[in-house]
């Protein structure tokens, strides 16, 4: 079995080199499934994964077909979840995928950078929500509100918008974005306090519905605070939002021999920035899980009354979870605003909140690789798979009416995924140990 997987993954290099494209990627995904699910010697498996990475990278680089990105995400997941692969191989291969394969593919097809950045932003937010829902067990249906607060914090001051109500020299120069990530952490944590203070006295479903309502309140405010004083510019949104200057980054890449053009330089920069932030977020998450707070959150999640009897102060502990999760989202909001140079209330609807929640739940509540996988899966589904499928339908089956365009049915597919997941695998794709035990017990 292990020899077959190894042989196939080595053989995959051939088609990857000769016929790069969607079909080859599908083949690769099949081989990947075989390697990951079949019983294999860990060393052979590590080697097979290396070959597959090489294959996916080659084919992605040559064809730019985004299915290959799913393959790379798959390899990453395999690396984080499969047992007994030596740590140095995990680390080396993981870094190679993130720092070499994806950028290489991005030069072939800049959309892959865009996809990578969006996955990264959502993954960081999913990790933030993971603290709230996964660790502390507080159901938050208004999480996008914090994302909005973060995004508007920078959008208002990083654009001429602030001139409407403040004296001074606006937009602030792009370097201030870094400072505003800190500011956003404070403003969103404060918003978390404001929302959490009334909401967290409630439990379960009531908490869900109140956070949903307050999330809507933030969206209504963003939509309507263009009068009497124009803070948010209403439904039109704010544009252009300043980006940080990256001359040093251009010099650095030029010194490394990478010729960047006007479209790819910012893409690569934001991609690397998001990667860096995810790294930090994961570290913070790991430390939180093992901290005094993390244990208190788990205790509250498992049994609130028992936790209280053991002397854990319920309300402040929950509030801290809420504020921590909010802060993650706020920092990502700033990046989101700068990367797209545009912010509007459209991005912060209930659908956004639920999408982020679904990432956490699909991936497996409380699990860090799960949250990242969930973010990757849903972002690729929404931004790429349905759109690609739409294009396929439009070019190959033009007689089908435009009303059936698959890209318009994001919610339908999303809803089906949610319902089927809850029926067949409620513990998520990569469940955390304790959650898995809980679900199996039931």
């Amino acid at each position: 079995m292990s020899a077959l997987g190894l042989l196939l993954s080595l053989g995959y290099l051939g088609p990857a080199l000769l016929f790069p494209g969607a079909l080859t990627h599908l083949l690769g995904l099949g081989v990947l499934a075989l390697v990951a699910l079949g019983r294999a010697d860990p060393r052979a498996r590590a080697l097979a994964l290396t070959f597959l990475t090489l294959g996916f990278t080659l084919s992605l680089w040559k064809s730019g077909n985004t299915l290959g990105l799913i393959g790379l995400v798959g390899v990453l997941v395999a690396l984080t979840t499969l047992p007994r692969i030596p740590l140095w191989i995990r680390a080396l291969l993981g870094l190679a995928i993130l720092l070499v394969s994806v950028p290489l593919a991005g030069f072939a097809n800049t959309f892959i950078f865009e996809l990578g950045i969006q996955i990264g932003i959502y993954a960081a937010m999913a990790l933030g929500l993971n603290v709230v829902v996964g660790m502390a067990g507080l159901l938050d249906l208004g999480y996008a509100a914090f994302f909005a607060v973060g995004a508007y914090t920078w959008a208002i001051f990083g654009s001429p918008q602030a001139r409407n109500f403040l004296q001074g020299n606006f937009p602030l120069p792009g370097e201030y974005m870094y400072l505003f990530m800190l500011v956003a952490i404070v403003t969103t944590a404060f918003t978390g306090l404001l929302i959490g203070f009334p909401a967290l006295r409630l439990r379960g479903d009531y908490l869900a519905i109140v956070t949903l309502g307050l999330g809507e309140v933030v969206r209504i405010l963003a939509n309507n605070l263009d009068h009497p004083i124009n803070f948010t510019n209403g439904p039109q949104g704010i544009t252009p939002v300043e980006r940080p200057p990256i001359d040093w980054f251009r010099d650095l890449t030029a010194a490394l021999g990478l010729g960047l053009d006007r479209t790819t330089d910012y893409q690569l920069f934001f991609y690397l920035l998001v990667l860096l932030i995810i790294g930090i977020v994961v570290l913070v998450n790991l430390n939180l899980a093992n901290s005094r707070f993390g244990r208190a959150w788990t205790a509250i999640r498992e049994d609130e009354i028992a936790a209280r009897s053991m002397g854990i102060p319920l309300f402040p502990t929950k509030l801290i979870a809420f504020m921590t999760g909010a802060a993650f989202s706020g920092a990502m909001g700033v990046i989101f605003a700068a990367q797209r140079t545009f912010v509007s209330p459209e991005s912060f609807t209930l659908l956004a909140s639920i999408t982020i929640l679904a990432m956490v739940i699909l991936g497996g509540m409380g699990s860090i690789p799960g949250a990242i996988l969930g973010a990757a899966a849903l972002t690729i589904l929404n931004l790429d798979l349905l759109k690609t499928f739409s294009e396929f339908v439009r070019t190959n089956l033009p007689q089908i009416p435009s009303q059936v365009d698959p890209a318009k049915y994001e919610r339908l597919v999303f809803g089906l995924v949610l319902v089927l997941m809850m029926i067949f695998r409620p513990q998520g794709l990569i469940p955390e140990r304790r959650h898995r035990a809980e679900m199996e017990e039931a």
């Binding site: 006295r201 307050l214 309140v217 994001e410 339908l412 809803g415």
Partner: protein, 322 residues
Amino acid sequence: MLEQVLILLPQVVFDGLVLGFVYAMVALGYTMVYGVLELINFAHAEIFMIGAVVGVEVFRYLAPHLGSGYLVLLLALVLGGLIAGLTAILVERFAYRPLRKRGTTNRLVPLVTAIGVSFILQDLVRLIQGLWHNEFFLRMRTLEDLEGAFELFGGLVFVQTKALILIAVSLAMLLGLTYLVNRTKLGVAIRAVAQDLQTASLMGIDPDRVISRTFLVGGSLGGVAGVLFALQYTTITPYVGFLPGLKAFTAAVLGGIGNIPGAMLGGLVLGQLENFFGTYLPILTAGNFGTEYKDLVAFLILVFILLLRPQGLLGQVVREKV
């Protein structure tokens, strides 16, 4: 300004009453399901929407063939209630029952399923309407004999016939439901299951059947509310259920969720408050804050009620056993 407020007041109260009855009818669906399953059935908002869409279609196709607008409306109410009720049963059968059979204790799982179902229904209706009419923005056909209006109190209140019909039909439905729950065998079974599902099943009640019928009753009520909503507010899209659904849930919580008279009271109170703020905010703030903030009021009320009286206006405190 005070004079302006007072002149408008009777009209505001009347319009608030109409809106309140719509919320009350939808809130009952939430409350019944919550009473029996302790599930916030998010998909109920889409059941309401399906009722509205059926209403539009019945008016579109039957109005030219039938002489009387009242007959068309009667058919629309019956069909809307029926189709919405059947959809609710299907949703229960294929989405919620498998979860119940599995016996998941995690409260998140059914909630996420409900959200998923709600998305599926929205886009399915959009798909069907898209294929059928090549658009999914629907407008209710206006029928002359339902469009009559008259003035009361020397022109202070402008009353439309259809608003009166809405109030009459919803009152009848609400009274019917109260009778059903308090006086009939099915009502006793529903209350028994709501009390304690396990014990009820030991007493020879088939919980699946009772739950199915609860969804049928709640769903039809939502469907009827949808038809009346379409008649009153005329523009319908597949996404029209979300806000009224959320408000109706607020109303159910306001009254004390699981409590049937509470849901009616909550609906009426919320309708009044929302209409009050919607009309008077622009006047009182000299146009600085417009009608769009009325939704904000509903959510803020929800938060305040839950803070001050978490069990709702008519709810009872449930003590947790340790």
